[in-house]
Symmetry: C2
DNA sequence: GTGTGTGAATGTTTTCACAGCG
DNA sequence: CGCTGTGAAAACATTCACACAC
């Protein structure tokens, strides 16, 4: 009676490359961050137990996550901190620097240029763009602000792979379209609006209000104390 | 769906409580944001289809998410935009303003005070704290910077429910301990470090580097440019 | 003993597919 | 018809539990 339309046949599905769950990729950077701290504290080895305690997650989850990529631990001992750090950096493609373009040099954009944590952690902001003629040509944070029309050429020249968007909400969609046309495949969006984009482009959002709005639901209930 | 009214003994409450998956709560604010945009564009109604297209998610997921809280749509028509907005605001506890304390008034802290998007969206930064005697007493963004020792009293006085933390990494753990002791149950952490905290405290992180590190994994593979 | 790596079991989330309403 | 609301099914993610290595 019920027949299925257009499903992927089971065999083709099985033959597909080992797909690593996105949730796992999302967690790896926190492992990296925790391990960096451990290394600074001169910890030589760490168990999934200990790492789990620091990150408030189960040891099993950490072991399972890592097992997608290889066997990095030693039984009875744990993981060598600096070796695991190296492995994770390589897995995440962080054994190199990445060039980043900043689009939008208003208040938020300037704060991002000022923020000194990007470069030491491997993300170099190598170009800044705006569409305001008043700003173009000015120097901010050691960068000459360029016309957004130059984006395509600069992306090619400087090997830019990631764009940070910090323009007003009303301009976000057109800027994203432009950035995507220039071949950028990863976007960090500071503007508090959703945008349309091809599914092969990665997007992450930084919106403090959104983050707080996910917490108020839980605050609501405990307000009777 | 039965809404709880009036007082219930803890047992009945526990047995009745419909536990709503956290992923659902995490998505509601994006619905809110999309609907706000639709309302500004004078859209009267929206279908799960249309909303899904804007947010790049399936209509079924949106319908299912909303169904945890009630029946807000009309068959054959869709959802009334402003009515659904109202419902979501109420669900998330956003039918009121929230008072926020900023801890740490360095570069990042100042940028947060400057950022004009918090207040219009319902989050009032009503107090700022630092431990640096040079800063205490100075005025930034209309707020007199207070000694962090005054936090407990101010939290009580001003009904502060959320803390934004923007202190250097090395101070994060002690500041979080302090904030928790003061009765704060929700924290937005801008410092790029993990911290220990009781499981009944909500924490969200803003770390642009972490966000970018979750994308480089995917960039790695397509680097044939 | 201690702690990894991993199939198998369990739990959770998403998607399907359709009854029923406007 | 078109679209919601929703049980049921499928897909996905986490946790368990134990063989095995140090």
């Amino acid at each position: 009676m019920v027949f299925l339309r257009g499903r992927l046949d089971p065999k083709a599905r099985t033959e597909m490359a080992t797909h690593i769950p996105e949730v796992v990729i999302l967690r790896l950077p926190s492992y990296l961050r925790a391990l960096t701290l451990l290394e600074e504290g001169n910890a030589g080895v760490v168990s999934s137990q200990e790492l789990g305690a620091r990150l408030q997650m189960t040891p099993a989850q950490i072991r399972k996550d890592l097992s997608y990529f290889g066997k990095f631990g030693k039984q009875g001992k744990g993981y060598n901190v600096s070796q695991l750090l190296g492995e994770l950096r390589q897995i995440l493609g962080l054994d190199r620097d990445w060039s980043v373009a900043l689009i939008g040099v208003g208040r938020v954009g300037k704060a991002i240029l000022d923020y000194g944590d990007l470069a030491p952690r491997g993300f170099q902001v190598v170009a800044a763009f705006d569409r305001d003629p008043e700003l173009i040509g000015k120097v901010v944070g050691g960068l000459v602000i360029q016309d957004i029309a130059d984006l395509a050429a600069t992306v090619k020249d400087r090997g830019i792979a990631i764009a940070i968007i910090a323009v007003p909400p009303s301009q976000v969609q057109q800027v994203i379209d432009c950035v995507v046309r220039c071949g950028i495949k990863a976007i960090l969006n500071y503007a508090p609006v959703a945008a349309q984009l091809p599914k092969d482009i990665r997007l992450r959002e930084i919106d403090p209000v959104l983050a707080m709005q996910t917490m108020t639901y839980y605050l609501k209930t405990l307000s009777s104390s």
